[in-house]
Amino acid sequence: MSPLVRFFVILSVVGLSVALIWPNIGQRTIRLYANEQIAPEKREEALVKAEKYIRDHYSLKYKVEKKTGKPLANPKGADETYLSITGKFVQTAFLNEIGRLEGVDPDRVSLEPMWVEENLKAKPFKLGLDLQGGMNLVLEGDFKKLKEMLDRQYPADMIAGLQKQLETEKDEEKKKTVKNKLEEIKSALDFTPQRKKQDVEGALEIMRSRIDARGVSEPMIRMQGEERIEISLPGVANPDQAKKLIASTARVAYHLHDPVGEAGRLTQEANREFPEFLKQVTEFQKQDFMRKLETKLKFPRNLGIYLVYDKRANSRGVNELQPREFMVLDNQPVLTGEAMSRTVYATVDPEKGQNIVSFELTASGTDTFAKVTTENKGKLLAILIDNKIRSAPQINEPILGGRGQISGNFTASEATDLALIIKEGALPVPMTIVEERSVGPTLGQEAIDSGLKAILIGFVLVFAYMLAYYHVSGIIASIALTINLLLMAAVFALMDFTITLPGLAGVVLTMGMAVDSNVIIYERIREELARGKSVKLAVAAGFERATLTIIDSNLTTLIAAVILASKLGVGPIKGFGVTLFVGIVTTLFTALVVTRAIMEWLAYSVEVKSLSIGFGRYRKASKLAAANGAARGKV
């Protein structure tokens, strides 16, 4: 290859690398919108506060101004005021940090896309939990709680009753149904290790779809052993909200309420005690109060007291679900989420303009629903989410088409979440959090800053060392090192690799090994010069000898890197392995292509008479090079 072609290749590689990492270093604009779910005047206030926060903390780094425009995600939406924040070196940790400010919707803090992102698949670096903040959860199946729930669903006397019925029943058809029912109950109550594992795996799949639908960037969800699930959500701004969504065991159920019958009467009586109920503080006390009230009012077994919730502003001005009154319902639901097909979606009621969840029923669900709505005209059909009554519309006419909707004063995102939960069904077993790591974005940003600062200072020191020892050649080595780091960064950006603290350690090792390659080359050239060779011959021989050494030593380390980066590796070990792997490949390129191109260009094209490659006898010898070399004859 002619030097020109070589330089062209190197320049294009460097240019491409810069383009790939440009989203991380170039000027970017962040848009920050206020939370839709708070009152308009509060939104304005939130923006003012956010603006002040950024001015106070980041006045040097970012410029803020207020702008009006359509939301990025929804180009057809209404114009809205937002904060436009411009600055360089934008990191996700910063987005996470401002996403947590009061009144800001973290899902609507985003970067305006750049042309390199649209055309070159360049992406911002993915940072690990330790660097950008986020959370890592390990959840365990709570089979104790599941058993409690099942015991309530299938009380002992109910099983005994069925057993008795099985013995006395004469009708073969009915006997079979009872038998099936008993077997179903038996299998539900049987906790074998296999079944436990199955339940947890089922829960994992559901959690995965919940998280995927939420658009969390780079989630990791997997089984850990038999009964545990590990989830990591980098950059999640609101750990509590995420915890809720993931572990939600929300169930949807329809229960009947007969306003003119027993239920209506009991509802009135129960509601006389409602003010007293509101004085109860803990969840436990509340439940206890309701159960005692049921006994006091001599409730029949099939009825129970439930709470009607609605949304009202709390003391902080944020809408919150709060109990409004009691309603007495049939304990047995007429329809549950299981009867709904997977066609469930959030939509807007065209007449009332409310957010609702619309669903289609399964075949058997359609039959049941048709039957129930035909037989119970005039009664109320209460919709319970997590045992909370969210709405109770009256049945005016039979619903035969197998379609239905759930209304309940939802916000758009609540409706979406609910649709999701119905679609995926309830978790087969409730999950409890046993391990948790969360890192706030501020801390992550500091880890990045201190890590980068350390690498940068290290780089400068290495540069100084190389310059002091190898003079001009030291500068060439530093250029090679710079290109090396650039290439590594570009590869990371391209392969969507998550950078973690141990990964940064891998970068340091790469710096050491990259410099090592140059040192090996230079020492060889110096030896050749010391033997009296000319610059041209010394460079040629030096590279020839050094290449084998560099390839051998790097390939050996590459074996270790491949093993650590392989599927066998876990978490931090894998991350370290990948960094090392990339670093070795880029080192081979920079040492054997970049350094070589520059050195050979100096030797052959510029035809320098002496090479600035350090002190001592080598240099002196090199000046005598040609004569000596010729005099010795064979070299």
């Binding site: 790591r437 501020t442 500091e446 340091v508 090994m513 370290f576």
Partner: protein
């Protein structure tokens, strides 16, 4: 300059062996084993920004009063002082039980029932005044010892496979005795570094494991460079004797050894000085680990090549 390293090969190997055994023995005898971070031992770690009522002293007194064994440490960060609270695995279990007992109270305030949220709850409700704003914890971890165990076995397993493959590769590219030298030097580095970690009582954590892997990679790289020189010099110089060739190779590589180790070390020093807490441990381990790696390439790997060669020669003569 000529320095006959191989003349001292037995001394070097003995010193290494004494250090290997001695440091580990000292670790277990004086400190009762390795210090463990919560990655390995399980436990709770919380970081919170210091404030009016929330400072190291107050927290220490508070935990004393609540009879919770905790270490409270001040860490200074760019964005202001923070305290780091660490609770061991036993305390964690204890707190989990207490949280269970106080379920009703926690439910009321909207805290999940587990050890870490109970700790947060205690700080919020019992240390701070009733009307204090909800404190935001900048980092919170609660782990069982499972992650550490998993990591330990996984790392050991992977290192084992990597070493095996490297040995095969080196045996193939060089000779069997070189492979043996590389293998023993690598294992030597890992164990010796662990020994130093032990007597300095650096807590074993995920970054420390990463550092150990780094040292492994570095040491192999370093060893191969020396081996490469030996391989090159051995051709046509066999009559001089392997010891002479190895000595010569080590001396020829000396400048390279010093410069490479030097540059790597000065790249690590800033990490030690400016790095985050966990990075600082990593840098500390790297600093002595890399010195150990450099030492072993010259004074462990190379002597083993020589000794093996001598044994083989004696055998073939006999």
């Amino acid at each position: 300059m000529n320095f006959h390293v191989m003349r001292f090969k037995w001394i070097n190997l003995s010193v290494s062996l004494i250090l290997l055994v001695g440091l580990l023995a000292l670790t277990f005898q004086r400190f009762g084993g390795f210090a463990l971070s919560i990655d390995f031992a399980g436990g709770i770690k919380i970081e919170v920004k210091t404030g009016d009522k929330l400072n190291a002293e107050a927290l220490r007194n508070f935990f004393d009063k609540e009879k919770i064994a905790a270490t409270v440490q001040l860490v200074d960060k760019a964005s202001g002082d923070r305290v780091k609270i660490e609770l061991g695995g036993k305390v964690q279990q204890d707190l989990a039980a207490r949280a269970e007992a106080a379920r009703a109270e926690l439910d009321k305030k909207g805290y999940p029932i587990n050890a870490i949220d109970y700790t947060k709850y205690l700080i919020q409700t019992r240390l701070l005044p009733a009307n204090a704003p909800v404190i935001e914890f900048s980092a919170a971890e609660q782990v069982g010892p499972t992650i550490g165990k998993y990591l330990q076995t996984n790392a050991l397993y992977l290192v084992g496979i990597a070493l095996l493959l490297i040995t095969i590769y080196v045996a193939f590219r060089f000779r069997l005795n070189f492979a043996l030298g590389a293998l023993i030097a690598s294992v030597h580095d890992l164990i010796l570094t662990l020994g130093v970690i032990g007597i300095l009582q650096i807590p074993l954590s995920v970054p420390v494991v990463a550092a150990l892997l780094t040292i492994l990679g570095y040491s192999i790289n370093d060893t191969i460079v020396i081996f490469d020189r030996i391989r090159e010099n051995i051709h046509g110089q066999e009559e001089l004797g392997i010891e002479h060739v190895v000595d010569k190779s080590i001396m020829q590589s000396l400048t390279r050894t010093i410069n490479t180790t030097g540059t790597t070390l000065i790249a690590i020093i800033p990490i030690y000085l400016f790095g985050d807490d966990s990075l600082r441990d990593l840098a500390k381990v790297l600093l002595f680990g890399i010195l150990i790696g450099t030492y072993s390439s010259n004074f462990v790997a190379a002597p083993i090549v020589v000794i093996w060669d001598n044994i083989m020669k004696r055998k073939s003569r006999a």
